[in-house]
C-alpha cells in the first residue's frame, strides 16, 4: 500500500472506511489521493469526509467522479462550505449519496 497522503486521515469501522480530507484538494495532489482512496475503498463502503476541506476544485470533482465507479462511495460535507457549494454547482451531490452537516 502507498504512503498515506498528508491530506488524509483514515478510520476503519467494519466494512466501512472513513477518509477525512483536510487541507486543499487541487490538481497537484488529486492523482495521489485518488490512487490511495481507490485502494482503501476496494470492496468496502468508502465515506469521504469533506467537512475539513479548505479548497476543492474541478480536479477534485473529477477525482470523486472517478472514485464513484471504483467503490461504494458516500460523501460528507459541511453546509455552505466551499466543498459543498462546488459539489452542488457540479450536480455531483445528486449522483453520489451526500450527507450535509448543518452547522
Amino acid at each position: 500500500m502507498n504512503d498515506v497522503p498528508d491530506e488524509i486521515t483514515v478510520q476503519h469501522d467494519g466494512s466501512t472506511v472513513l477518509a477525512c480530507l483536510t487541507g486543499e484538494i487541487d490538481h497537484s495532489n488529486t492523482p495521489a489521493i485518488l490512487e490511495y482512496l481507490r485502494e482503501i475503498g476496494q470492496n468496502r463502503t468508502l465515506i469521504v469526509d469533506l467537512t475539513q476541506t479548505k479548497y476543492l476544485d474541478s480536479a477534485g470533482l473529477a477525482m470523486l467522479a472517478h472514485l464513484r465507479h471504483a467503490t461504494d462511495l458516500r460523501l460528507r460535507v459541511a453546509q455552505d462550505s466551499i466543498a459543498g457549494r462546488v459539489l452542488s454547482i457540479s450536480g455531483l451531490d445528486q449522483i453520489i449519496p451526500t450527507d450535509t452537516d448543518r452547522a
Binding site: 487541487d26 490538481h27 479548497y55 476543492l56 476544485d57 474541478s58 466551499i82 457549494r85 462546488v86 454547482i89
Partner: protein, 815 residues
C-alpha cells in the same frame, strides 16, 4: 535579423512577399554615365505567377525592364519610375493597358501598377486586372448596344423623380413624343402627363399607383399624343424605385407598338432583357465600391426586382483553410439555429453548396421536393428555411480557380428558364470580381499584419514583471508602419523595454524599424544603463539609411532594486503609475532624435523608484497626438485614463486606453500606434501581481498568498472561497491547456481591488483556436465553477495567448 542583402530585403519580408498573389518586384535604377536614370534592373521579385509572357523569376532577375518588356523601353512607365526615385512620391497607375511582342508571341492585358521608392530604385506591386477590365469594357459596349437597340426597336426609357416632380426621358423617347431634343432630357411630370391621351390618363394614374403600392412592375398599353398631334400606341412598363423602404421614384420603358403589336411575346422578353442589362450595369457599379462581403450581398439583394425577383441571397466564400465556407446573407436571414449551423459550412458535408464548389457547375433546384429529393438528410433545415426554388452558382477568380458560390433563392416555386439562367450567370460574373477584389485586399492586409506581428513578437519568460504590448496600424489600411516595441530579459534578470518610431511608412520603414529594434535588443544586453544604450544605438542608426530622425524611449526595469533607469531620444516620456495610484510622466533624460548631428552629449540616464506592482507605459505619439489640438491635451488625457484604470489587469488597461484615447477621439487613426505596458510583480493594498511557472506545484502557494491578500477585502468567507476556486480554475486551465504543463511557460495572475469590484485576470502564452470546440470542453466543470462562483467571466484568445478575466461585484474597498 536586419541582415542586409543585395536586394535590401529582410529574409522574413521576402518569405511574406512570396505568399502574396500580386507581383512584387524590387528594381534598381540603371544610370548612364551622366547619372541620369535610363532603365531599371530587376533585383528581386516574388513568386507570383503574373508575368505577361509566363516567364519564371529566375529568367527575369538580373535583367532590365527594357529588354524584358520591349515596348516599355524609353517609355512613360520607366519615366514614371524615375520620378519616383527622384521625388520620393509614389506612382499609382490604376489601369495600364499593355501589349507587346515577347519571344515572337503577341501578349496583352491590363495591369494596376504601384511603385514606391526603395533604396536606389523602386518597389513595384502590380496586379493583373485583365479579367476585370475586360468585363468592364464589355459592359460599356453592352450599354452602347442597348442605346442602338432602343433606336431600332423604337423603345425608350424614362425615370420619374417623385420628390422633384421631374421626368427624365432617353433620347429615343424624346423622339417618340416628338419633343425637341433636350440636352438634359428632363421635363416636368405635368407637361408629360398632358401628352398622355385624355381617355387613358386615369388608367396610367392607376397603373402608377399600383406600382407604388405593390412595389412591383406594372405593364399597360395606352396611347400618347405627340407634339404634332399624331396618336401613337405605346406599351409602358413601370418599375418602382425603392430607397430605404420608400418608393422615391418610378422608371421603366415605353415602346411604340403601333406597328409591332403582333410580336407581343418577343417584346416581353426583349423588355425584360433590357431591364436586366440596365440593372446589371447598376449592380456592377455598386459592387465596384463594395468594401465588405455584406455590401456585396446587400447590393445583389437590392437588385432583385430587376434581376430575377429572388427573395434571398447567400454569398459563401472559402475561409483561408479552404475546408469551410463562410456565409453572408442578403434579405431575410435564416432563423438563429439554422444560421448557426450553416454560417460556417464544412466542405466534406453533402450540402448543395459543397456540391457546387466541388463540381464547379451551377445547381438549380426547382422546388422543395427537388431540394429534399436531392438532399434527403437536409429535409428539416430546408423546410425550416422556407425557400422553394434555389439556384447556386460557382464563383471563380480571374485565374479560373473556384473560391465560393452565390445562392439565390425564391420563396415560391419558380421556373428557372434559359433567360433567367443567363441573368443569374451574369450576376455571378459581376459578383466574382468584386469578391475577389476583397479577398486580395484582405490577403494584403493579413500579410502586412503577419509581417508586423513577426517583427513585434514578444517571447518573455520573465517572472518579475508582466509585459503586454499592442501595435495598431493606421486606418489608412494596408500600410505597415515604422512604430515598434521590444522587451528583452537581461542575463541578471533586469528587463529592458523600448518603444520607437521610424520616419515614414510601408516596407522601407518596417525594414529600418526591424534593424533598429534588433540593434537595441543586443545593445541593451551590453549597456550599463539606458543612456549608454541610446548612445550606442545612435551610432548605429547614423549608418542605417532611413533611420534619421527615428525616436526611441528606452528603460531598464530592475525589480530587485525596485528602480527604473530610462532615457528618451526625441520620444514622448514614459508614464509611471506607482501602487498608491500616483501617476507621473518620467520626464528626465530627454534628448533629440537619433542620427541627427548635434554637437553635444546626450544627458545621463534618469532614475526613478519602482515599488512592486508599479506600472510603466511606453507609447508612440500616435496615441496622444490629435489634429487641431495641442499635444498637452493628449498627455493630460493619457494621465487621466491611466489614473482611473492603473491597477486593472494589463489587457483591460490597454483596452481602456485605446477606447478612450483613440476610438473616442478620432474616427480615423492617421498614425500607427505602439504601446507597451510593464507591471512589476508584487503585492500592494489594491493590486496583486504574481507570475508563475506552468507547474501545478506553484498553484497552491500562489493561492495562499492571494487568500491572505483577499482577507483585507470586504467580502464574506464564502465569497472569498468561491473567488479563489474560480481563479484557481483559470490557473489550472492555463497550466494544463495554455502551457501544456511546460514549466518554462509562464502564467500571469493580476488582481485589482477597485472601488466597487475585484477584477482578476489569468493569462498564458498558449495558442489555440477559440470556438465552441476550444479550450474549455476538456474541463467543463472548471468553466461551470468559474461561471457560478463569480459575477463575470470573459475568455479571450489573441496572438499573445489566452486571458481569463473574472469579476467579483459588490466588493467594497476599505480605503
Amino acid at each position: 535579423m536586419g541582415v542586409r542583402m543585395d536586394d535590401g530585403l529582410d529574409d522574413r519580408f521576402r518569405l511574406a512577399l512570396d505568399s502574396i498573389l500580386d507581383l512584387v518586384v524590387v528594381e534598381r535604377a540603371v544610370r548612364d554615365p551622366s547619372g541620369r536614370i535610363v532603365d531599371f534592373e530587376i533585383v528581386w521579385m516574388n513568386n507570383a505567377p503574373v508575368d505577361v509572357a509566363g516567364r519564371s523569376r529566375e529568367a527575369m532577375i538580373g535583367r532590365r525592364i527594357s529588354e524584358l518588356y520591349p515596348v516599355l523601353a524609353g517609355g512613360e512607365l520607366i519615366a514614371g519610375y524615375r520620378d519616383v526615385v527622384e521625388s520620393g512620391e509614389p506612382l499609382v497607375v490604376p489601369v495600364m493597358p499593355y501589349s507587346d511582342v515577347i519571344d515572337g508571341r503577341e501578349v496583352s492585358g491590363f495591369y494596376a501598377v504601384q511603385a514606391t521608392r526603395f533604396e536606389d530604385g523602386v518597389l513595384v506591386a502590380s496586379r493583373d486586372i485583365t479579367a476585370w477590365e475586360t468585363s468592364r469594357i464589355d459592359l460599356e459596349v453592352a450599354l452602347r448596344e442597348l442605346e442602338a437597340a432602343q433606336r431600332l426597336a423604337r423603345l425608350g426609357t424614362w425615370r420619374v423623380d417623385l420628390t422633384a416632380g421631374k421626368v427624365e426621358l432617353s433620347a429615343e423617347l424624346q423622339r417618340m413624343f416628338g419633343l425637341p431634343a433636350l440636352a438634359s432630357g428632363v421635363v416636368e411630370t405635368t407637361a408629360l402627363g398632358a401628352m398622355i391621351h385624355a381617355e387613358d390618363r386615369a388608367a396610367v394614374g392607376r397603373a402608377n399607383g399600383r406600382a407604388i403600392n405593390t412595389r412591383r412592375s406594372v405593364v399597360l398599353d395606352h396611347r400618347i399624343v405627340r407634339g404634332d398631334g399624331e396618336v401613337v400606341d405605346v406599351r409602358t412598363y413601370t418599375e418602382p424605385v425603392v430607397s430605404e423602404g420608400n418608393v422615391v421614384g418610378l422608371w421603366g420603358t415605353m415602346q411604340d407598338i403601333s406597328e409591332a403589336i403582333a410580336s407581343r411575346d418577343a417584346l416581353d422578353i426583349e423588355h425584360l432583357r433590357r431591364l436586366a442589362a440596365e440593372a446589371l450595369a447598376g449592380l456592377a457599379s455598386s459592387l465596384s465600391s463594395a468594401t465588405s462581403r455584406q455590401d456585396i450581398v446587400d447590393a445583389v439583394f437590392a437588385s432583385a426586382p430587376h434581376l430575377g425577383n429572388y427573395d434571398r441571397v447567400v454569398l459563401a466564400l472559402f475561409e483561408s483553410d479552404r475546408q469551410t465556407l463562410l456565409q453572408f446573407y442578403g434579405g431575410a436571414r435564416p432563423s438563429g439555429e439554422i444560421a448557426a449551423r450553416h454560417l460556417v459550412s464544412p466542405l466534406d458535408a453533402d450540402t448543395p453548396l459543397a456540391r457546387v464548389v466541388q463540381d464547379e457547375v451551377p445547381l438549380f433546384l426547382a422546388d422543395r421536393d427537388a431540394q429534399t429529393a436531392s438532399f434527403p438528410s437536409l429535409r428539416a433545415d430546408m423546410n425550416a428555411a422556407g425557400m422553394e426554388s434555389v439556384a447556386i452558382l460557382p464563383l471563380h477568380r480571374a485565374a479560373r480557380t473556384i473560391f465560393g458560390a452565390l445562392t439565390l433563392a425564391w420563396e415560391t416555386p419558380r421556373d428557372v428558364d434559359p433567360m433567367t439562367r443567363a441573368t443569374l450567370h451574369d450576376i455571378a460574373a459581376v459578383v466574382a470580381p468584386a469578391a475577389e477584389r476583397l479577398e486580395l485586399r484582405d490577403l494584403e492586409r493579413s500579410v502586412a499584419q503577419a509581417l508586423q506581428m513577426g517583427l513585434l513578437a514578444l517571447d518573455l519568460r520573465s517572472t518579475s514583471a508582466v509585459v503586454r504590448a499592442r501595435y495598431r496600424p493606421s486606418d489608412s489600411g494596408l500600410e505597415i508602419g515604422g512604430d515598434w516595441y521590444d522587451a528583452v530579459e537581461l542575463s541578471d534578470g533586469r528587463l529592458a523595454v523600448a518603444v520607437g518610431d521610424v520616419v515614414g511608412s510601408g516596407l522601407p520603414a518596417a525594414t529600418t524599424m526591424g534593424q533598429l529594434r534588433a540593434a537595441l535588443g543586443i545593445t541593451a544586453m551590453q549597456s550599463k544603463d539606458a543612456a549608454e544604450a541610446i548612445n550606442i544605438l545612435n551610432d548605429y542608426a547614423s549608418r542605417v539609411p532611413g533611420a534619421q530622425c527615428a525616436t526611441v524611449s528606452f528603460a531598464i526595469v530592475d525589480t530587485e532594486h525596485r528602480a527604473i533607469s530610462y532615457a528618451s531620444a526625441g520620444h514622448p516620456p514614459p508614464l509611471l503609475a506607482t501602487p498608491d495610484g500616483t501617476v507621473t510622466y518620467l520626464e528626465g533624460a530627454r534628448s533629440w532624435p537619433l542620427a541627427i548631428d548635434v554637437p553635444r552629449d546626450r544627458p545621463a540616464a534618469a532614475n526613478a523608484e519602482l515599488p512592486p506592482g508599479s506600472l510603466v507605459l511606453l507609447y508612440t505619439d500616435g496615441l496622444i497626438e490629435r489634429r487641431a489640438e495641442p499635444i498637452d491635451n493628449g498627455f493630460a488625457r493619457l494621465k487621466r485614463v491611466v489614473g482611473e484604470h492603473w491597477n486593472m489587469p494589463l489587457r483591460r488597461l490597454k483596452q481602456a486606453i485605446f477606447a478612450e484615447l483613440v476610438d473616442a477621439t478620432t474616427s480615423l487613426a492617421t498614425d500607427d500606434i505602439a504601446l507597451l505596458a510593464v507591471r512589476t510583480a508584487g503585492i500592494s493594498p489594491f493590486l496583486f501581481v504574481e507570475i508563475l511557472h506552468a507547474d501545478p506545484a506553484e498553484a497552491a502557494p500562489c493561492r495562499h498568498r492571494l487568500r491572505s491578500w483577499l482577507e483585507n477585502m470586504d467580502m464574506s468567507d464564502e465569497q472569498r472561497d468561491g473567488f479563489l476556486v474560480a481563479i484557481g480554475e483559470a490557473v489550472a486551465n492555463a497550466i494544463d491547456h495554455g502551457s501544456k504543463r511546460d514549466r518554462s511557460q509562464i502564467i500571469k495572475v493580476e488582481v485589482a481591488a477597485r472601488r466597487d469590484d475585484l477584477v482578476a485576470s489569468v493569462s498564458d502564452s498558449g495558442r489555440w483556436q477559440p470556438g465552441i470546440d476550444g479550450y474549455f470542453t476538456g474541463r467543463g466543470r472548471g468553466h461551470l465553477l468559474m461561471q457560478a462562483l463569480t459575477d463575470d467571466v470573459e475568455i479571450d484568445t489573441d496572438h499573445q495567448g489566452t486571458i481569463v478575466t473574472l469579476r467579483h461585484a459588490n466588493h467594497k474597498r476599505s480605503v
